[in-house]
Symmetry: C2
């Protein structure tokens, strides 16, 4: 059975020593009170909840899965899920970063980020129930009417009710412009919704008394395509004027999918048969409203893989120290044993360090990104708000695709450390691989993310936002360029930054003549950009570690951080050479394949 | 539900047009009669069996799994498995490449290879039942006494009985020197075996009336470590002098593992409680005897991933042509539809072509390698036999590790083509990913393969065998060096060949001072070597295609083959740049990580 220890030390390093988040919060009136002690107390308690309450339900939840009673359309989550959720609500966790106007605690997103990293390490399937709710909360807060906010937000904040995103239909996922669910206006201002949705995560369950579905549908007179989609709030139980629950709305679970992973989460087929809903945002502008939720969800998906990478790493490390097998190639290490622990083998270390580096890089990126999110929403300076928002938009597809792909590499490497035992369910490692696999697909496949990055976030403004990120690298180079000890971390990112700028211009130019050039380069491009971001973050972490060591700090944590940064640049960052070359190759070798793919 | 069409055209291309196997067989007296028509008839029938009999049982076998009756220790395979096996035996398939002296058909290994590729595409879990038997057959044929051969080989040849390899114990897998199972000599020349084995594939089932377990165990006076291991044949039912079944031998299934994949195959814990066995080969030389079986199994594992890559590719291709979603970036392609089929998108093509190139490269390598195996065993010229055997030994770890890693990449890419549907069991794609995952682990993890290649097969003879493979490349360069049309395929392998030679010398030199340098470079080294081999094979395939086209052949197959070769060199082969660099980095960055891995 696997174990999990909340990575508080590394989290605190990133929060306080690298990004000095408490100092940043002082500049934001809403968060000025969130000091180091508060932050540490919150993440410590969050870690306890994750490791003690939801982690023990991870393997059992996978084995048991969810059950649909076809006669009542009710879904039962795996044993213990409901009780754990009640404890989550009791502890006030859903309210952590919600608006105090609706009962929230109003704490920074950065703290919610740390909470969710640990929840995802503990139990991704369980975490998706409150996770999806939070997305619904954000969409309603941004686009809901006062009435909708009053009706739904306090209950979503407390966690008494949960939420979903109902987007996908059998014939359309990526291409939501094709969706068919209908919304007919009623005399009283509400809408009658009819249609079929699939792949609705946390779509039905027994953990909360009501579920607020946010449903994409078409008005009768809507234009064709993505410009004719509106968003509706459709509760499982209609809500009376006094806030109490009324009739059951005909929005039912018609089936549950049998999936590769996240078995503990109900992936529901939702049949909507004239259910009553209210419009969120403006008619035909539903996709924009939904994107508030989607962007939050994309950061959340990156966080799922960060969590899985961390927990997989911890268990592979423990196994590699415990399992004895063969002798070290460079001579016996454990003389008193029949064999050496497998951590003596260079390739076992490579697998472990790969996961460790991707976990620590991912954690730094997530904190970096959610701190920007806090600034976007709560910084007093409008320019800071705007620029922070632009950077978040640039980083979102990288968080989603790069961290989930790294999670795939890492969970597979950690499973491999276990040899044959990695393939056996009771060790828990193969579940991390299976659970992670969906993260590369949902909320926009990683290919869609790469097109979002290169097409929409980079080329559409001629690389202006990318240049802003480049300025951060430039500042670090200026600051540390003459520091010989930093050169091993600074030189690679300075070089790659220049190469990426050139590549951007090149692909932009070719794409202008043939847009398939953008599609051909995008996936490699995103991975190069991901390494540029991780390289920058590892350089900043190394900077802190070098300073501490220079100041006489003997905590081996800092030596470990330098070792991890060195490993990262030597063994992972280097794939940019091949990626750049492949991105440059162009679309012809891909598109000139009709005979091959006949 | 997925579908499967035996890839007869490509198989025939490799067999007849690239390797001219029928001509090669003419030089081997034992196979001189195996002409093109015979070969084509056999693979056509084999394809029918795979696609019609075992393929329909693949998803149901995964869902149902195997069942152990704890009171009788009997295991029931999934529904239909037993009947399909009876049909397999009835058709004479187990006997295909077995020795006519024991009832075999005596056909070349190359044909068995083609049969098994298709069986693995159809149903890896089912195929492991006859597959393991074949390994037991080979070990007994090579090392068994006349009595053992007479008792077991006719039944293993006919398939009436099956076989297993009982190596692993709970505390040792890679490090068999640690194994504890005991063998006590009895007065009648037999041995009483006692111990516990785990991870025994096809270890117990209801498909055959007897199971011959080949068990590694220690004699009472055996030296410690791997030089004190002997091999024993231990039947489930003792065999009487007249060949009929006698008493049940106390070698029982004590439990079945719950695994990530290959659910249809019984991965058994085997409790041996004084079971009677006979020794195979010499005392304390069991590992050598077992390696006959192991080497065959390693080629077989590569073949499993080749099969899964092919079937995953076929289904992803069909889906990509059928599923409409979004418009092509370069303009509407399917005007009459609401969206374009997703095959218009460059990255979808990249995923498809990756799987196609790895399937076709893997097929060429497997045929190349098993043809060498036929030469090793049946060529009249001793020098050819010897050199063929050396090349097979060099290629075996590449077949096992490179093809299974490629299978991981390919099955994941094909699953990704399906978007969210790829994660749903009914589409069948996620099963290919799960089934393939064990191939990177068992029969020696891919890290073990890389150490076998670099340490044992390359450095131990100062690269002599590698140079022999280099000569094949040299011959192709000499033949085609002036042909401008071939330069895009020849130049990269000529360059990489030189680079690999340099790298070998470099790592050999460093490894002489510090053996961890070999362990640090080995995995990257194997992948570079794999690309050198695939590059050579794609160049030879391109050569044939170019000649056919030049001769006026308008079959689009040849154009497709060139497109695949171009894609391979442009997008897959290019990772050698990063791999070479990483292999050169050395062990320090891996081994200087004690603080990081504290």
């Amino acid at each position: 059975m696997p174990s999990y220890t909340p990575p508080l030390r590394d989290m605190q390093f990133v929060l306080h020593e690298v990004f000095h988040v408490a100092d940043e919060f002082k500049a934001m009136p809403k968060h000025a009170e969130t000091d180091v002690d508060t932050i540490n107390a919150v993440i410590e308690e969050a870690g306890k909840f994750a490791s003690e309450v939801t982690f023990p339900l991870n393997i059992s939840g996978d084995e048991e899965g969810c059950t649909l009673d076809k006669s009542t359309h009710e879904v039962t989550a795996p044993k213990g899920f409901k009780e754990a959720y009640a404890q989550f609500v009791e502890g006030g966790w859903p309210a952590l970063s919600c608006d105090p106007a609706f009962g929230g605690q109003g704490l920074p997103y950065v703290l919610n980020q740390c909470l969710y990293e640990m929840l995802n390490s503990a139990n991704q399937a369980w975490t998706m129930y409150p996770g999806l709710s939070h997305g619904a909360y954000e969409a309603l807060q941004a686009h809901g009417t006062d009435d909708q906010k009053k009706t739904y937000l306090p209950k979503l904040t407390s966690g008494e009710w949960t939420g979903t995103m109902c987007l996908t239909e059998p014939h359309c996922g990526t291409d939501l412009g094709m969706l068919r669910t209908k919304a007919e206006p009623q005399a009283d201002g509400t809408y009658k919704i009819t249609g079929n949705k699939i792949f609705i995560s946390a779509g039905e369950h027994d953990m909360a008394e009501n579920i607020i579905h946010l449903v994409l549908a078409r008005l009768p007179d809507a234009p064709k395509g993505s410009k004719g989609i509106s968003l509706f709030a459709v509760p499982k139980f209609n809500v009376k004027a006094d806030g109490s629950l009324g009739d059951r709305n005909p929005i039912f679970c018609a089936g549950l999918e049998h999936k590769m992973g996240i078995h503990g989460n109900a992936t529901a087929q939702i049949a909507i048969d004239g259910a009553i809903g209210t419009m969120v945002g403006e008619p035909n502008k539903g996709l924009a409203a939904m994107f508030v939720m989607m962007n939050a969800a994309r950061l959340g998906v990156g966080n799922q893989s960060l969590g899985l990478t961390e927990v997989a790493y911890q268990n592979a490390l423990a196994y590699a120290k415990d399992r004895i097998q063969m002798r070290s190639l460079s001579g016996v290490k454990a003389k008193d044993k029949d064999a050496d622990p497998i951590i003596v083998h260079p390739d076992v270390r490579k697998m472990l360090m790969t996961a460790k580096a991707y976990a620590e890089g991912g954690r730094a990126l997530q904190v970096f990104c959610t701190l920007l999110l806090d600034k976007e929403h709560h910084h007093p300076d409008a320019k800071v708000r705007k620029e922070s928002g632009e950077l978040v938009a640039l980083l979102t597809p990288i968080v989603k695709a790069f961290i989930t792909d790294n999670g795939h590499i890492s969970t597979n490497a950690c499973m491999q450390v276990f040899g044959g035992h990695g393939f056996i369910k009771e060790w828990g490692m193969e579940q991390y691989v299976r659970d992670n696999r969906i993260n590369m697909i949902y909320e926009g496949t990683n290919t869609v993310q790469s097109l979002d990055l290169l097409g929409r976030k980079v080329l559409s403004n001629n690389g202006a936002t990318l240049k802003k990120f480049g300025k951060l690298i430039g500042a670090l180079v200026a600051e540390e360029g003459v520091n010989e000890k930093m050169s091993e971390f600074i030189t690679p990112i300075a070089v790659l930054g220049e190469q990426l700028t050139k590549l951007t211009t090149e692909v932009g130019f070719k794409g202008f003549q043939n847009p398939d050039e953008v599609g051909a380069a995008a996936v490699d491009y995103l991975r190069v950009a991901g390494h540029l971001v991780f390289g920058y973050l590892f350089a900043r972490m190394a900077q802190v570690a070098l300073r501490e060591i220079a100041a006489g700090n003997t905590d081996p944590f800092y030596v470990g951080k330098l070792q991890t940064a060195r490993f990262y640049f030597a063994k992972l960052f280097t794939e940019t050479a091949t990626l750049m070359r492949n991105a440059r190759t162009g679309s012809k070798v891909l598109m000139d394949t009709d005979a091959a793919l006949a």
